[in-house]
């Protein structure tokens, strides 16, 4: 099945700093979503972005489908940004094309 690798696994930032999280995937995708899992375990949708660029406030994401990677940018980080960020993909075709495969996540800690 499709493989998803996220980097870095852990990230510690001072409040106000910027960061870039990366997601590499092993096959063409029809679906790519970024999630933030807060300390209470809730998965919050950030972006649906199988290709292109989107922005939402301090967050933006870019997916380069032809090169099989996606980037999540967090600017002016706040302590409430802490948590685990997951990238999840569904392959373009074949088995599993309707199910999301998640990476292992990037654990972000923003310190005051």
């Amino acid at each position: 099945g499709i493989q998803v690798e996220q980097s870095p696994p852990d990230l510690i930032l001072q409040e106000g700093a910027n960061s870039t999280l990366r997601c590499n995937f092993s096959d063409s995708v029809n679906n790519l979503q970024w999630f933030h899992q807060n300390p209470w375990g809730q998965l919050i949708n950030l972006f649906y972005i199988p290709s292109g660029t989107k922005q939402n406030g301090r967050l933006s994401a870019t997916t380069v489908a032809t090169e099989r990677y996606s980037l999540l940018y967090i600017s002016s980080s706040q302590t409430t940004d802490s948590g685990v960020y997951f990238c999840a993909v569904a392959p373009y075709s074949g088995a599993g094309s309707y199910q999301l495969t998640f990476g292992k996540g990037t654990k972000l800690s923003v310190i005051p």
């Binding site: 679906n31 979503q33 649906y48 997951f86 309707y98 999301l100």
Partner: protein
């Protein structure tokens, strides 16, 4: 409701017991998915439904796990003869339509602990 809801929030049971986990999808969503998340890992797919039927149950780990969605809305995940290895967070998600390009929205999960 406004989002996906799951009950109970937490469930503690003894090895060998039977448990049922419930999921209420977002109103009007036709597709429903179950995932399982172990500590320190990303969620892993279990099963999904298009309407009342299970379109893909390839992620269910063994025949102790079963899920139903009899009226095309609420779904129940059933686990027989629970084992300690079943301890995890069970997540439910829904999407408006059934399709690979649909955004999936997740519930808060049920934390299952098997003693």
């Amino acid at each position: 409701g406004a989002g996906v809801s799951q009950t109970p929030s937490n469930k503690v049971t003894e090895k060998g017991k039977y448990v049922e986990l419930r999921c209420d999808p977002i109103s009007g969503h036709t597709a429903l998915y179950w995932y399982r998340q172990s500590l320190g890992q990303g969620p892993e797919f279990l099963i999904y439904f298009q309407g009342t039927g299970a379109a893909d149950d390839s992620g269910l780990p063994n025949d102790r796990f079963f899920a139903v969605r009899p009226e095309g809305s609420v779904s129940t995940l059933k686990i027989q003869r629970t084992e300690r290895g079943d301890s995890a967070v069970y997540l439910c998600a829904s999407s408006l339509y059934f399709g690979a390009q649909e955004t999936q929205y997740f519930g808060p999960g049920t934390r299952l602990l098997v003693l």
